[in-house]
Amino acid sequence: MLPQARPPAAGQIARDRADYFNTNGRALSFQSLILDLQRFWADQGCVILQPYDIQVGAGTFHPATALRALGPEPWRAAYVQPSRRPTDGRYGENPNRVQQHYQLQVILKPAPADSQDLYLASLATIGIDAGLHDIRFVEDDWESPTLGAWGLGWEVWVDGMEVSQFTYFQQVGGIECDPVSTELTYGLERLAMYVQGVESMFDLDYNGASGPARVTYGQVFKRAEREFSAYNFELADTVRLVVHFADAETECQALVDRGLALPAYDQCLKASHLFNLLDARGAISVTERTAYILRVRALANACCEAWLAGPSSVD
């Protein structure tokens, strides 16, 4: 009396759409998915940037978003950013949780009136067809206490799975965003798992090749997950981290005083990551935690003010 036929996995359904598949007939590989999204956003007038070379917790922290969201100049950019979240590490043993994952970050300033339509079109380019799926914008307001930033928006659900964060920035570094920007953050592993129909991130087809040339996500990152989880949870020297934090803080303030917003912001990012590491080591009590967040936020606010005080970035 219970239904028997389990519907086919998403990968199989997508197989009907040959244009989204590489020549081997498999679903979009992890890297193709990134390339396709970048191509899409390049066509929308975004500059395609590379990841920022400092550890950050989210793509928002990249100066191309955090700083460029401020001030009046129009700006469109897209880039992949590794997101480091030390507390989410599971030694590579949890199929859905890792201490480092990839985000594709898009910033559109000012926010175009058709932001949602553009986003839906970007999903269509990677084979998520609105005719087959249930795509929903579910309330989720974004806030970054360390960045002194907030915005209103949604998490985007595809068939019950959150695949993106969609935010209209209202404030960054305690400063009102004028004009308001659209920020899109795609969780790339999740999206790829969905498109490929795999249950574990480590099974993701990374390069779309077959036979000995085939590379999985696990082959690329599993060792890093094990080693960084051990470092984050067990070995990071908390005494030294506290010192590093204070050093970064001092350096940041000194650079702000000289009006060097970008080098100062690097130090702010370092302080933020050191705080995350201390948090993962359980070295911070609840009350201390608030104090640390406020210290990072003070740095972020100062950097943002220095950024705005400096010469226009588009000159």
Binding site: M1, L2, P3, R6, P7, P8, A9, A10, I13, N94, P95, N96, P110, A111, A113, S115, Q116, A130, G131, L132, H133, D134, I135, R136, F137, V138, E139, D141, G151, L152, G153, W154, V158, D159, G160, M161, Y168, Q170, E176, D178, P179, V180, Y194, G197, E199, G282, S285, V286, T287
Partner: protein, 696 residues
């Protein structure tokens, strides 16, 4: 009579905000139309995730005409004054004015007929005003307009009898077009009037009426479960929420892998409900069935197969996580997790959660003595373990399962079932309608947890003020009241709070007095909310505030006795004896109060027998002794009614005393003694209830 059609199309409005938004908007329009003298005969509001729509019918086409009269300058006034008046009144020549005599001479009068403005002229500013005033819990700026809104406005449909009206909203288009369902009919739709709008939206897969959407969802859910021989676990809050997430609801059913069905039902339903907004299904015997229902916002070309598969995958990942925690958590016994609570701050000024469990364990010993049938050892065990599940992976992932997981893990560890249940119950009741524990050890744990929270936060000066109650202490107090009253517990709150203060230690100030006053205050609120209290299973009829106050004033800290007394007081006052008692009390106490105020002193001392003169004085003093003695003995037996009966016998001697004896006599000693006698009556009666609090 005109028809107004207004649709505010926006990006997705959070589901929780939709009902208030449409209520607010229709309310504002109603009021503003009335104030502008163009009231509507009917106003209907509709809300979906993307639109707020108002259809107002029977609007007056124009405001009624008004005649305005203005007095101008005196006849013969200087020409500039007359010219100025004409200009301001909008008249061309002085001949258009009337000349009227007044008691100060003849004056020019301008009589101007002001035709009412047509509705079409009034409406734009009126609608703009309503939009600006509509309160959103959170609103945002966006590039297209200066008007803050919950999410960016896409376009506005604004028509009066089919004619588009302007609305100054910067770059948000205003006109006769809208859009259908985001995925199913994304194109522009041009409408000519309200009926046309409703018809076209229906075709464009938008079920505009929120009630209709709820009904569609209900029918879909029912059809899906009955086809499988299952039933739906009712969930009105979830139903309301998903109604606000879809414009065209399509109910779909998914399957839960059999391997996950061994998880506790609460884990299943929490993972499904809180994170995924899925409905749970039940077998006919009420146990969870391996099916879930959800509401999609799309009619997919493959009849939803892809959507179902996707949702099943997401749920599988969530439940795999939950099962990992379930297996992992059970490897460590609950009792060895107690240590970890030392790292969990309860409040910066109140130590760790571990410290809190130590305090409630200490309290549980005293409380176990007060709760009939409670085993002190098991009660202590339960309170020690009550918070241990906070450090489990499952509660970390699903905080709403705190206590519930503690119960499962305790049972797994082989703890006594009473201990396990008390762990689950100790957070309860969470509000006026939540389950109130009845098992003895559960009552002890639930009381201890709440008593400690109240005592601790009051001790550090964190009592609730106004609308600020960050630690939910009012709810905790109500929990205490319900636990005591619904279980008929005979406890001295004073003793319990003293014990809680002991457990906190000497470095905190004792706040027992404040706490008792707080409980008294919450008791009044609780009784007002309920309309009755439940004492030992018996319902009391509505208790008057003043009666509670009259009994509470006696330092009564046993809530059961307090309510029993208040109820008896209510009954007694309704009888003739009750009237007698009140009259006697008031006659005696009024004059004492007046004289005490005048003399700036009190007359509390004992009556001196040798200063009694009149027979009525002797009689009253003797009757008072008798009545007092009888009343006190009755009180000791908790025979409150009888105690009041004794006091009521004083009516006659009090009346006779006032008829024959002059209180304010010339002889000061006699006067003082008579006041002392009356004061003694007041004092005796106040030991039974503070009758001065009684109104009416």
């Amino acid at each position: 009579m005109s028809e107004l059609l207004l649709e505010l199309l926006s990006e997705e409005i959070p589901a929780r905000m939709q009902p208030r938004a449409i209520e607010g908007l229709t309310g504002l329009l109603h009021d503003k139309l009335a104030a502008a003298q163009i009231p509507a005969e009917s106003i209907r509001g509709y809300v979906t995730p993307r639109r707020l729509t108002v259809v107002a019918e029977g609007i007056l086409a124009a405001q009624p005409d008004r005649t305005e009269e203005r007095r101008g300058p005196r006849v013969g006034a200087p020409q500039p004054a007359i010219d100025g008046f004409l200009r301001s009144a909008g008249l061309a020549a002085v001949t258009e004015c009337e000349i009227r005599p007044t008691d100060r001479g003849e004056f020019y009068f301008a009589v101007v007929n002001r035709p009412g403005r047509p509705a079409r002229e009034v409406l734009p500013e009126l609608i703009h005003g309503a939009m600006a005033e509509l309160p959103w819990p959170k609103s945002m700026r966006y590039p297209a307009s200066d008007l803050r809104w919950v999410r960016p406005l896409t376009s506005i449909l604004f028509m009066l009898d089919g004619e588009v009206l302007p609305l100054p909203l910067d770059r948000v288009p205003v006109g006769r077009t809208t859009r259908g369902h985001r995925l199913l009919a994304p194109g522009e739709i041009c409408v000519s009037n309200a009926a046309d709008y409703l018809k076209r939206l229906r075709k464009a897969h938008v079920v505009l009426d929120q009630g209709c959407r709820t009904e569609m969802i209900c029918k879909g859910l029912e059809a899906a479960v009955s086809a499988e021989g299952l039933s739906l676990k009712p969930d009105p809050a979830l139903l309301a929420e998903v109604t606000g997430l879809v414009e065209f609801p399509v109910v779909l059913m998914g399957t839960i892998d059999a391997d996950f069905m061994a998880l506790p039902p609460e884990v299943l339903s929490t993972a499904m409900r809180a994170h995924q907004k899925y409905f749970s299904c039940l077998w006919p015997d009420g146990t969870p069935a391996p099916r879930f229902l959800f509401v999609a916002n799309n009619v997919a070309v493959d009849r939803g197969r892809t959507i179902i598969a996707g949702n099943e995958r997401v749920l599988r990942a969530r439940l795999a996580d939950a099962r990992f925690f379930w297996d992992h958590d059970r490897r460590v016994p609950l009792k060895s997790r107690v240590e970890a609570l030392k790292d969990r701050v309860f409040h910066a000024k109140l130590g760790s959660v571990y410290d809190k469990t130590e305090r409630i364990a200490a309290l549980s010993e005293l409380l176990a003595g007060d709760v009939h049938g409670a085993d002190p050892h098991l009660s202590r065990r339960a309170t020690r373990l009550a918070k241990a599940d906070l450090s489990t992976g499952m509660v970390g992932e699903f905080p709403e399962l705190q206590g519930i997981m503690g119960r499962y893990y305790a049972l797994h560890d082989g703890e006594d079932e009473r201990v396990a249940n008390a762990i689950a119950d100790h957070y309860k009741p969470q509000g006026p309608y939540d389950f109130c524990p009845r098992a003895p050890e559960s009552i002890v744990a639930a009381l201890a947890d709440k008593i400690d929270s109240l005592a601790a936060f009051f001790a550090i000066g964190e009592a609730p003020t106004g609308s600020r109650d960050p630690f939910a202490l009012r709810r905790a107090a109500q929990g205490i009241i319900r636990l005591i009253l619904e279980n008929g517990l005979r406890v001295s709150l004073r003793a319990i709070f003293a014990c809680a203060a002991d457990a906190l230690g000497p470095k905190y100030p004792d706040a027992t007095g404040e706490l008792l006053a707080f409980i008294a205050d919450r008791l009044k609120v609780h009784l007002r909310g309920e309309g009755f209290g439940i004492v030992g299973g018996a319902k009391l009829t509505l208790l008057r505030h003043d009666l509670i106050a009259a009994v509470f004033a006696l330092d009564e800290d046993d809530l059961v006795r307090l309510l029993a007394r208040a109820a008896e007081l209510a009954g007694f006052l309704a009888t003739e004896e009750g009237t007698n008692l009140l009259v006697a009390y008031r006659r005696a106490s009024n004059i004492v109060a007046i004289e005490e105020r005048r003399d700036h002193r009190r007359y509390d001392h004992d009556v001196q027998r040798k200063l009694l003169r009149e027979p009525e004085e002797f009689a009253l003093a003797a009757n008072l002794d008798l009545a007092s003695d009888g009343a006190m003995r009755a009180l000791a037996r908790e025979e409150f009614d009888a105690a009041m009966g004794h006091l009521a016998t004083l009516r006659r001697p009090v009346d006779e005393f006032f008829d024959r004896v002059t209180v304010n006599t010339e002889e000061p000693k006699l006067r003082e003694n008579r006041l002392r006698l009356l004061s003694a009556i007041r004092a005796t009666m106040n030991r039974v209830a503070d009758f001065s609090q009684i109104e009416g």
